[in-house]
Each structure stands twice: as C-alpha cells, then as structure tokens.
Amino acid sequence: MKKVLMGNHAASWGAKLSRVRMIAAYPITPQTHIVEELSEMCSDGRLDAKFLKVESEHSAMASVIASETTGVRSFTASSSNGLALMHEMLHWAAGARLPIVMVNVNRALAPGWNIWADQGDSLAQRDTGWIQIYVEDNQEVLDSVIQGYRIAEQVNLPVMVCYDAFFLSHTYEPVDIPDQESVDSWLPSFEPDNFLDPENPKAYYGLVMPDNYMEMRYRLQQAHEAAKRVVSEVGNSFGNHFGRPYDLVETIHCDDAETVLITSSSATSPARLVVDKLRDAGRKIGLLKMRVFRPFPTEIVQEILGNKKTAIVIDRNCSWGKGGIFADEIKGAINNLSNRPMVYSFIAGLGGRGITPDLIEDIVKQVENSESPATSSEWIGLKPFN
C-alpha cells in the first residue's frame, strides 16, 4: 500500500511492522511524531506493545535495554540533545550485545538552540558500538527499521537508523507500506537464547576484570566486522522479498567515473540530480552514497575509490578541530592503497541549511578548478567574510 507519509511516520510504521513489543521514549523535536503515532497505535490496538512514557531519553534507553534483556523486541527514538543524554546507555546497549533498534532524527546540538538537520548528534555516538544507517528518503526509513531488527538480531548489535530532521522527518512523500503478513514472513519473531529468567538465574553485565575485558571488547569488534556481511545479505534478501534491495553503500555511475561525489542521508538526493546533469554534460562523475557508517564499509570504499582521480565528500557534520567526519573516515579507509584519489572535504548544510543541487554543482566546479585539496575541510555556503 502506497501512502504519502512523513519520515517520522515511516519510522513508526517500520516499528509497527517489526512487531516491537516495548517502546520507551521521550519526546523531542523533531522526533515527536514518531512517538505520537506509536502511542496512537498502541492505544487503538493496531500495535500490541507497551509504550513506556519515561521521563528522559536516558531512562528510555535504560528501559529498552532492560526489556530487551528480558527478551522482548524493543524500540525507541530520539534526536540531538536527547541522543546525547542517552550516550552512556548507548554503550550499555552495545556492550550488552542487545539487538535494539532505534531511530535518531539528525538534529544539531545546542547551543544556540537549533532543531534542524545536522549529523553531529549521531556521529558523536559512532564509538558506542551501534550499527548506524544513514537513510536518504522516507521509504528507506521504513525499510531500514525493519531491516534493522533482522540485522541486529542476527549479529546481536543495536542498530540506529538516522535521518535528517525536517528534510525527511517532516516531509511527506509517497512510501510503500508493506503488508504485515509480508513482513512477518521475512522478519522472524524474536527468540533470544539469553534473557532474564527466574528459571535460569544469571547475572547480566557484571564487572569484567582486566583479564577478560579486552577479549569481550574484541568480540564486539568482531561482531561489527561480521555485521558488514550481514547488512549486505539482509539488504539483498529484503530486495528479493520486497523489491527494494539495500546494501552498505549505493553507487551511481561509479564504474567509469574519474570523480566520485560522496554523500550520505538526504543530501544524496540532490547529488543524484547533479551527477545526472553532469553526466549528461559528458563529465566522468559518479556518486557514492554512504548508507552504513558503522560498521564502516572500508573494503567497499577501497574497491570503489581505488582507481579514481578525485573524491569529493560532502559532510553535514563537523568533528570540531578536525573537519568532515565522513571525509576523514574515507581518507582513513583508502590511506594504504597505492592508487588512491585526492579527497576533497566539504562541510555544508549544518543546522538545517539546505543542500541544493546548485550548491553541490558549485562544489564540483570548485574542485575542478583546484589543483589539490585544502588541508582542512572547506565550508560551503558561508556568508562572505566581508
């Protein structure tokens, strides 16, 4: 069934179709519609789940960790400052190896108050051990939540589905909502091996001494390595079942490209227009959409960029004191290749500023006119200096 849905409602539908049993959440703009819609679904019986209206994001994640540990499929959603408040518990979820799926609506952090799109919130959580998926449109929001549970429960890692505030969260566009039966036949029910059980009393998440901690953390890292394959397999399987395949990344015209434009999230959409336009003008340009950021698809990035001349990365984020985060990660991924492109890093669209086709085209032009990248990320769209 196709419907015109806002991105937040697509997330709610993803959770509903995944048959989550426990939802704990705290409202924050621009995430509120998710929890409002799920509250409705729980109250009118469309969703057989408990909605725990907790008093903070920290408690939301703590509750979800607890319910998931008790063996119940759980969901939450947040954004920005809320996600930052969750930070500690994000480590707990991953360290506990719990297949929780959450949605984060990417929003800038205060101060000053800013409720608009910016990836800084979730990228600041990149080291918590969560799988992070950055999605481009509302269809992908819904699809990624459902895939999220299948991935998470296969590798026992939590999954964070991230999408841009307003550009997706509040934007209505057509979304194909799969049938519940169709989802049920694809997503198995949640039957964990371990859960809090008086019949089998165990202690969960106790003190791990130095003689074992490193090994346990090695396991976490290995799980992420394994997750790369699983994300691909699940995305492929999802495609076979629902007709919409997904992978760690998506490539457009990359095979013969000399220059590859690299984007994530909603900025990918205008980039598609620009690449098509420049291709029509005879330029050898391609587009790499970074869908999964953690685990980082190093091998794929190496394969795609290995023989290219130029890579242009547009980041709607900044690691203060360093620069665009995707750009930096991509540089790191290809660093040991003998043939590698020059990587141009651009920061654009922070705090909800639009990333338009014109702006992307300007970036490409600027790269074409330069001999080598600047040492630090270049900021695009700033007001003139004087």
């Binding site: 408690s59 607890a66 518990m89 809090l196 165990k202």
Partner: protein, 306 residues
C-alpha cells in the same frame, strides 16, 4: 502509634537462601544482609536490577554471580527505568506475578538515580524498590551523598568542614508521588524488614523501602558493631521505623527507646569531631523530625476507605 512488629519474636527466619557465600562484601556489611533478607521475602520468582553501587561488586565479577535469581547490572542512574523495562517485558511475556526488585544504594537513589526513580514512581510501575542506605558513596571510597547525615565526616566532607545540611528525606519525596506503599526498615530488625518487603510484594504498583545499611569502613565502626549501631539509629529516633500507605497514611511501627542521639553518634568515627553543641543541634533536629512524624501519623488519610 502502632507497634505491630515484635521483631525479635516474629520468627522463624525463612531458611531458603537466594545468595551463595563467596560474595564480595566487607566484614559486617549491612547491604549484603538487606539483600539476603529481601530475597527471602520475595522468593525465587524475582528479577533484580542493580545499578552502580557496592552491590555491583558484591554480587561477584563476571563470569560469576552469587545470587540464585536473575540480576541485571545497570548504569548508576537507571534503577527506576531499568526496573520499569523489566516489568514491562515480563508483563508482555505474561509473567505479571514475577517480582521486579530494584536494589540501589543511596547514591543511586537519593542523587543520580532520583530522576528515574521519580519517573517510575509517578507511573506507579509495579516494582519493588529497595534503597540500602549506607549514607555515602561507599563503593568509591566514602564520598558524601545527599543521604549523608548532617555534620558527618566523609572523604569529601572532611572533619574540618563536615557535611552541611540535613540528610535528604527520601520517604517524603516518594510519598509525594502518592505511591501505594513506602516504608523505612533497618537491618537490625530483619523480620520487620522481611514483613515490609513481603507487604511491598503483595502491593500492586511502586513500593519503596528505605533500609538503613550500616557500613563499618564508611561509618568508622568496628565490624561487629554493625547491627548494634543500626539498632541505636532507631532507638535514638535518628532512623524511625514506619510505613506510609498511599502517600497519606503514616504508621510508626516501633516505639523507640528514645535514647539520646549521642549514644548513636559516639559509636561512630565519622562523628568523632562533633562538639557538644553539634550534638545538641543534631538532637534538636531529630526531636523536631520525630514530632513531625508523630503528627503525620495522627493525620487522617485523604481517602478514608483505602
């Protein structure tokens, strides 16, 4: 005043053990006793949530556990939320009869965990929350908490500048949530503690037990005095034993011997710097608080037929 608990004779003490020896509590630990008594009251169909506290260590390091019930260690400030999550999941799994016990220290209850506790209490989650109160951050080496008594020494409130201001009244905070059952308990009266935990377990909704838990290293007492000093806390009215039903109806369970606070304070190294005037000040406050408690216990509850 009702004195329905004759704690010394209300035996037998239940014999089933849900703790196994080998756990890592200090000599004379009050907190370990409270857990032991509480679990005896609740029985095996219990899931326990333990935020950061001495019990994070006492329970045993991975891959061990000294409890015969399932426990989940959780972050410092999350006992209320984590217990809510476990409760929700158990209910969803058709196990509403399984007890959910949040077992937190004073730091995790009075300070960092107050928010999630308040959240759970306001939602009236069907959980039992026991705060074992040793009156400071003992696990990290005796730093003051908001449960530290006025003028007590801790490593962050040295004798030259001891704790300023009275101990936070956590029961008043919880009764402010109008939860169905609040009680204080004292490790020196195990059968009273057990009776209260049982009552909490039989009550639907959030129940809260504030249990005084002497800490020999933190209170600077010799370990064998642990129970004795706890007993004095009640007999000096420093820690009265009472219950509050529906946040309204106060019942004092035990008539203190009304000993001077000095009897309690002088046993503990953490109060050794107090002057006569300091002790007199504490006595005044204790007497005043007791008067308030007496008055409350004589108030008619809002709902007459509760």
């Amino acid at each position: 005043m009702t004195t329905h608990q004759d704690s010394f004779t209300d035996k037998p003490y239940p014999q089933e053990e849900y703790l196994q020896s080998g756990y890592l509590s200090c000599q004379g630990c009050g907190g370990s006793m409270i857990m032991r008594h509480a679990l005896k009251a609740l029985g095996p169909d219990t899931v326990c949530v333990i935020p950061a506290s001495c019990w994070s260590i006492i329970a045993g390091n991975w891959p061990y556990s000294s409890l015969n019930i399932p426990i989940m260690h959780t972050a410092f400030e999350t006992a209320g939320a984590a217990a809510s999550g476990v409760r929700a999941a158990l209910d969803l799994k058709g196990k509403p009869e399984t007890h959910v016990l949040a077992f937190a220290g004073d730091g995790g209850t009075f300070d960092i965990g107050l928010q999630s506790l308040s959240g759970a209490a306001e939602r009236n989650e069907n959980i039992i929350y026991i705060c074992y109160d040793n009156e400071a951050y003992m696990n990290t080496g005796i730093q003051r908490s908001s449960a530290t008594p006025e003028m007590a020494w801790t490593t962050t409130t040295p004798a030259t500048f001891p704790k300023v201001g009275p101990k936070k009244n956590i029961i008043q905070i919880l009764t402010g949530h109008k939860i169905p059952y609040c009680a204080t308990a004292n490790v020196a009266w195990p059968m009273d503690l057990i009776a209260k935990v049982r009552r909490a377990a039989e009550t639907k909704g959030t129940t809260f037990i504030h249990a005084l838990s002497p800490c020999p290293p933190g209170w600077k007492i010799s370990s064998e005095k642990s129970i004795e000093v706890a007993r004095l806390a009640t007999h000096t009215k420093v820690f009265p034993l009472y219950e509050v039903i529906n946040g309204e109806s106060y019942h004092i369970n035990f008539e203190p011997k009304n000993l001077p606070v000095e009897a309690y304070l002088s046993m503990q190294g953490r109060f050794s710097h107090l002057s006569k005037a300091d002790i007199a000040h504490i006595q005044q406050r204790v007497d005043y608080e007791w008067k308030i408690l007496l008055q409350r216990s004589m108030m008619e509850p809002f709902h007459m037929n509760m």
